[in-house]
């Protein structure tokens, strides 16, 4: 932009985002989750922990814990909504843009929040696949 804004300038959340931040539907923990993944670091000011309950390759439940800004919470909640009920394969196709779009858009400086939720999901799915593979390998062996 010609008239340069700062990093801070014009930070503005959509109504949708604020609504989700206020009333997230998916916060919390799942007892005996199929898989758990954490990304981020409290020293950086954002951390995201995702719990998945997967049955027959389908994500039956998603919960998350968040240490972070409003966008962190809202993107986490959005991500959870977007993958709930989907197969692992379908969930693996989720795009960062879908998360942002689901919230009516994200300020540029907050895109990293969507990225964090996305990375946590990827990590969880990878873990799940490794677990499946491990289990699959394990069974023949065991």
């Amino acid at each position: 932009m010609p008239v340069e804004y700062t990093e801070r300038g014009m930070l503005k959340y959509t109504k949708k985002l604020i609504e989700r931040f206020k009333n997230p539907k998916n916060v919390g923990e799942i007892e005996n989750p199929t898989v758990v993944a954490t990304e981020g670091d409290p020293t950086c000011g954002d951390m995201f922990k995702m719990f998945l309950k997967i049955e027959n390759g389908r994500i039956e439940d998603v919960k998350f814990l968040s240490f972070g800004c409003a966008a962190n919470i809202a993107t986490g909640d959005m991500t959870a909504d977007l993958i709930k009920g989907k197969t692992v394969e379908e969930a693996g196709k989720l795009q960062i843009k879908e998360i942002a779009d689901g919230l009516g858009g994200l300020p540029a400086i907050k895109m990293h929040c969507a990225t964090l939720a996305y990375r946590t999901l990827k990590k969880a799915l990878t873990k799940y696949k490794q677990k499946q593979a491990g289990g699959a390998q394990a069974r023949p062996k065991g």
Binding site: P2, V3, T6
Partner: protein, 389 residues
Amino acid sequence: MRAYLDNGATTPVAKEVVETMLPYFTERFGHPTFLYSLGQEAADAVDQSQKTIARTINAKSGEILFTSSATEANDIALRGVVYANRKRGNHIITTKIENPSILRTCERLEGEGFKIDYLPVDGEGFVDVSKLKEKLNDKTILVSVANVNDEIGTIEPVEEIGKLLRDQKEKIYFHVNAAAGYARVPFDVEQIGADLVSLSAHKIHGPKGVGALYIREGTPVEPVSYGYISLFKLKPGTENIPGIVGLAKAAELAFDGFERHTNHMKKLRDKLISGFERVPYSVINGPRGDKRSPANASCSFKGLEGESMLMHLDLNGISVATGSACSTTKLEPSHVLTAIGVKPEVAHGTIRFTLSRYNTEEEIDYTLEVVPRVVEQLRKISPVKPEEL
């Protein structure tokens, strides 16, 4: 009776502008960079104000920077652009009749090694575009010309200048100081090809303490001041939110009915000018008709001195400026009048009358009744004979 005819110096703030500003003092007072709702309201106000100003000059809203005055806008424009383009060249072109806010920055830049050409003007104050063309060289990085001269109302051929500059191989940035011209003459940044445009709120019935600088997208501008950055990198410090909102409202009012306002001013201006022409030994400065700002009438009354005239008019409730709006207390005659060839002894007797849409015909009639009387009175006690000048 009162007649405020120094609208070129500053204007009363319009009632609607004050009303628009008020809630931003006491209710919507948040800091625009803060996330909570009060802060967002302030940020939205800045956003909206950018949009409003941008619309009036056919710019994009992100191209509007708010400053604390046109002076500051000019300083950021000139120094900001030449510092950012120092590697490409060190040559600047401006004119002999610019406002001191331009000339003092230029002086400073000369001290820093920049080369500046000050273009002469003709007897009516017009810049000769062919002379500008002759001065262009491969070190030229910036041209700065006001679209309207603040002292004598000459409307400069900025469109022609813009076209000339766009035809050059290397980019030459074009700054237009529109402090005196904004809301008096139409302004379209695309048509003119301006890269930077300065405005001032208090010249258009907005508040003092706010100006704006249009910066065309992609124009490199280095900061000239430093510190806590709220919204704009080029103007650090917490924004004057009520002021910005006031500027936008003032612009809205001025452009909402632009034709009507300017026609009204033209009528009053022409009435003033014909009136002055009937005063013996008087000379109108600057052009007539369409090439003159609707808001400006400048007249030299031979054989008297401007300050005394100003004071006498004030005693009669009429506020005006002397010839040089910016050197009331200097003994030198106005640099603008000198540039158009007015002899110093005549220049000293010059009064500038500047109008706004709020002036009335009655005020003009009254002024035309008082002026000849005061002129006569002062000539009577003057040792200088007007017929000899």
